[in-house]
C-alpha cells in the first residue's frame, strides 16, 4: 500500500541514491513505489535536491509511461496489448473486461479499487494472452479467467 507523502522519508530516499551515477530514475522509481505517484511536491523536491530545474524533472516524469503524477487505484491490472497477445485474442478479452467495468484504458473504478492499464509485452508471449496484477504475472488467460483476475483484487 502506498503511503501518504512524507517529506522526511522522501529526503531519505533521495539521499540514498544521490551519490549514484544518473540517480534520477532510481529515485523516481522508489518515490513512486513508496508514495504511489510522483506529485508536485516530489517533483519540486527532486529538482531542488539534484540541483536541476523543476521543468527538467517534470520532463522526465512525463516522458516515461511508468511514472504517474496522480495515484492509481488500490490495485493495478496491466493487460498486454502487444502482437503476440493479440494473436491469441487478448484484445477481445480486454475489451470485454473494460466494457463490463465501464472503463477505458488507463481508468480506475469509481470505488478506487482497480486501475486497468495497457502494457506492451510482458515477455510471456509463448503463453498468451497475458496480464500482470500488482506485479504478479498471469498467463494463458481467456475471457473468463481475465474477468476472474480483475475480481481477485479487492
Amino acid at each position: 500500500m502506498a503511503e501518504i507523502w512524507n517529506l522526511q522519508r522522501a529526503q531519505e530516499i533521495i539521499a540514498r541514491h544521490k551519490a549514484q551515477e544518473g540517480p534520477m530514475l532510481p529515485i523516481l522509481h522508489e518515490l513512486q513505489d513508496r508514495f504511489g505517484s510522483i506529485g508536485e511536491e516530489a517533483i519540486r523536491l527532486v529538482a531542488q535536491s539534484l540541483n536541476i530545474t523543476r521543468a527538467e524533472v517534470y520532463g522526465v516524469v512525463s516522458f516515461y509511461h511508468d511514472f504517474r503524477q496522480a495515484p492509481a487505484g488500490r490495485h493495478v491490472l496491466k493487460i498486454c496489448r502487444a502482437e503476440a497477445c493479440q494473436s491469441m485474442g487478448g484484445e477481445d478479452y480486454a475489451a470485454a473486461l473494460l466494457h463490463s467495468l465501464g472503463l477505458e484504458w488507463g481508468q480506475t473504478t469509481k470505488d478506487g479499487r482497480l486501475t486497468i492499464e495497457p502494457v506492451y509485452c510482458l515477455g510471456l508471449c509463448a503463453c498468451a494472452p497475458n496480464a500482470m496484477l500488482d506485479g504478479q504475472p498471469r498467463a494463458r488467460l481467456d475471457a473468463t479467467t481475465l474477468q476472474a483476475l480483475a475480481g481477485e483484487a479487492v
Binding site: 551515477e21 534520477m24 532510481p26 516515461y64 502482437e83 508471449c125 498468451a128
Partner: protein, 504 residues
C-alpha cells in the same frame, strides 16, 4: 528425491509457486524426503509449469502440471498422465543446438557451484590469460553479430572501445527487450544469470572498462529480482574482480531499447534518441567510450571464449555465424525458445518445430523481429533464417522473435497497430515519426472500418516512404516494414484483390 519446479516468470504466471507448495505438502504427507529446486525454464512454454524429477536414467518431466497432478508424482511415474519421459529427449529440446542456453532450466540459477559444475566461468578464466586485444580478436573471429536487432559485428565494436583512450569506459547491457514475441533476455536473467555476469566481466577486460550497467525493462520484476540476487552472490564470490556492475530499471518506454535513448535514460534524462555520430563506442554513457550490447550478445561471449571462435563460427550460414535463440510466440502450438544454427527455414521453425497454430487453424502470417519487423506469408516459408536472406525479403531477424497468427487475423488491423504503437512510443524528435505515425493510424482506422476514401492506400504508402527516409532511428524508420509487408502480402485486407494462389 530431487524435484525441479521453475521460478521462471511464465511458470509463475501459470501457478508454479502454488504447485511447489502443493508438492512440498504432498511429499511431507507421504513421508517422502524431497528437495525442491527452483530452476529456470527450459524454454518449452507450452509445457509450463514443467516439473522434473531426477531418476537414475536422467531427469523426467511432467507438464503442463496442475495441482490435481501432484499426488501422482509420488506414485508410478511413467504412468503419470502428464509424463513426458526424459526431458532432454523431448524433440523440441533434442533438436536444438544450445550453446548460449545450455544451462537454462538445468541448474539452480542462483547456485554458483551449479554454474561452475556445468562449465561456467571457463570463458572468463581463459580470458584472464589473454590480452585485451586478443579477446577482441577472438570475438571478431567468431563472427558474432549483435543480437539486439542491428546485427553489427560485436568484435568490431569492442575493438573501437578498446582503442579509445579515456579514464572511464563503460559496458552497458541492453536488457530492455521491448519486442513483442521475445523473451530470450528474460530467460537468461532468470535461468542462468551468472552467464551474463561472466560475459560482462569478459567484455570489461576486453575493452578496459571498470563499470557497467544492465538496463532492464520494468515489465520484468522477476528477472530483476533474480538477477540482483545473482549479482550479489557473484560480487561476494569475487567473480567481478572489482568491476562495478549495477542493474538499472527502465520505466516503460519502448524507445529506451534504442541504444542512445537508453544511455540518456541511464543518465537520468528523457529517453530522446541522440543523433549519430558520435557513436556510443566513442562517446557513450556520460560522454565516455561505451560498449552497448544486447544481453544475448554478451551472454554468448563465455561460450566463444571457452570453446574458441572457430567452434562458434562452425555453426551458421553465410555471414550469419553461430546460433540464434529463436523465440516462437503468439498463436503457436509449441511456443518457446529454440536455439539453433542460422540457416534453418522459417517454415521449419513455424511448422515442424512450432507445430503450427495453437488454435489448429491455418497459419496466415508470421511477424519476425518484433513490432518493427515485417509480416511474412506462408509463401515465404522457405526463407532461411539468416540476416541477409531476411533483409532480401524486406524483413529482419531483429532479436529473434517470431509471432504467429492464424487465418482469423486482420492484417489491416495489424498494420494499424504498428502505426499506433509507433505513435505511442515515439520519442518525438522527428516529425515523420511523431506526426506520420498518428496520421497513418488514422487512415488505417478508416480502412479497417471499411470507410476507406479513394487514395487512402497511396497515402499510407507515401507516409511509409516519408517515415522510412525521414526518421532518425529505427522506430520511425522501420515501422513501415510491418505496414508495407501487410499491404504487399495481404492486399485483400486493404480492399484489394487477393494474391493469385501461385504467388501464395
Amino acid at each position: 528425491m530431487r524435484i525441479f519446479v521453475p521460478r521462471d516468470a511464465a511458470a509463475l504466471a501459470l501457478g508454479a509457486d502454488k504447485l511447489t507448495a502443493a508438492i512440498a505438502a504432498e511429499a511431507a504427507r507421504q513421508g517422502v524426503e524431497a528437495t525442491i529446486i527452483r530452476n529456470g525454464s527450459r524454454g518449452m512454454f507450452w509445457l509450463e509449469p514443467l516439473v522434473e524429477i531426477e531418476t537414475p536414467e536422467g531427469r523426467v518431466g511432467f507438464g503442463p502440471m496442475t495441482l490435481a497432478d501432484v499426488p501422482g508424482l509420488f506414485a508410478d511415474l511413467p504412468a503419470h498422465p502428464k509424463a513426458l519421459g526424459l526431458v532432454e529427449a523431448i524433440p523440441f529440446l533434442a533438436r536444438q543446438q544450445r550453446l548460449t542456453f545450455a544451462r537454462c532450466g538445468v541448474i539452480d540459477p542462483l547456485s554458483l557451484n551449479d554454474y561452475r559444475a556445468h562449465g561456467g566461468l571457463a570463458g572468463l578464466e581463459r580470458a584472464r590469460g589473454m590480452t585485451a586485444e586478443a579477446i577482441c580478436a577472438e570475438v571478431t573471429k567468431s563472427g558474432l553479430r549483435g543480437r539486439g536487432g542491428a546485427g553489427f559485428p560485436t568484435g568490431v565494436k569492442w575493438e573501437t572501445v578498446r582503442k579509445a583512450e579515456a579514464a572511464q569506459k563503460y559496458i552497458v547491457c541492453n536488457a530492455d527487450e521491448g519486442d513483442s514475441g521475445t523473451f530470450a533476455d528474460r530467460l537468461i536473467m532468470e535461468a542462468d544469470p551468472f552467464l551474463l555476469i561472466e560475459g560482462i566481466a569478459i567484455a570489461g577486460r576486453a575493452v578496459g572498462a571498470s563499470r557497467g550497467y544492465v538496463y532492464c525493462r520494468s515489465e520484468y520484476p522477476n528477472a530483476i529480482k533474480i538477477f540482483n540476487e545473482a549479482l550479489r552472490i557473484a560480487t561476494t564470490a569475487g567473480m567481478l574482480e572489482g568491476f562495478a556492475l549495477e542493474l538499472r530499471v527502465g520505466a516503460g518506454a519502448y524507445v529506451c531499447g534504442e541504444e542512445t535513448s537508453l544511455l540518456e535514460s541511464l543518465e537520468g534524462k528523457r529517453g530522446m534518441v541522440r543523433a549519430k555520430p558520435p557513436i556510443p563506442a566513442l562517446h557513450g554513457l556520460f560522454g565516455q567510450p561505451t560498449v552497448v550490447n544486447n544481453l544475448i550478445s554478451l551472454a554468448t561471449i563465455p561460450y566463444i571464449l571457452a570453446e574458441g571462435a572457430e567452434a562458434y563460427a562452425a555453426f551458421g550460414m553465410g555471414r550469419s555465424r553461430g546460433t540464434m535463440p529463436v523465440q516462437l510466440a503468439g498463436n503457436i502450438k509449441h511456443g518457446g525458445l529454440f536455439e539453433v544454427a542460422f540457416g534453418i527455414t522459417l517454415g521449419e521453425l513455424v511448422n515442424d518445430i512450432g507445430g503450427g497454430t495453437t488454435t489448429g487453424r491455418p497459419v496466415r502470417a508470421v511477424q519476425a523481429g518484433g513490432p518493427l519487423g515485417a509480416y511474412f506469408a506462408p509463401s515465404q516459408f522457405d526463407t532461411p533464417y539468416d540476416y541477409e536472406a531476411f533483409a532480401a525479403c524486406k524483413g529482419l531477424i531483429g532479436h529473434g522473435g517470431l509471432v504467429v497468427f492464424d487465418d482469423t487475423a486482420n492484417m489491416a488491423k495489424m498494420a494499424r497497430f504498428a502505426m499506433e504503437f509507433c505513435a505511442h512510443e515515439s520519442c518525438g524528435k522527428c516529425t515523420p515519426c511523431r506526426i506520420g505515425a498518428v496520421r497513418g493510424a488514422e487512415v488505417l482506422d478508416r480502412m479497417v472500418a471499411g470507410h476507406a476514401r479513394p487514395g487512402d492506400l497511396d497515402l499510407v504508402k507515401d507516409l511509409c516512404e516519408t517515415m522510412k527516409f525521414g526518421s532518425l532511428c529505427a522506430l520511425g524508420g522501420f515501422t513501415p516494414y510491418p505496414v508495407m509487408s501487410a499491404i504487399e502480402h495481404f492486399p485483400e485486407d486493404f480492399g484489394g484483390a487477393p494474391l493469385p494462389l501461385a504467388a501464395e
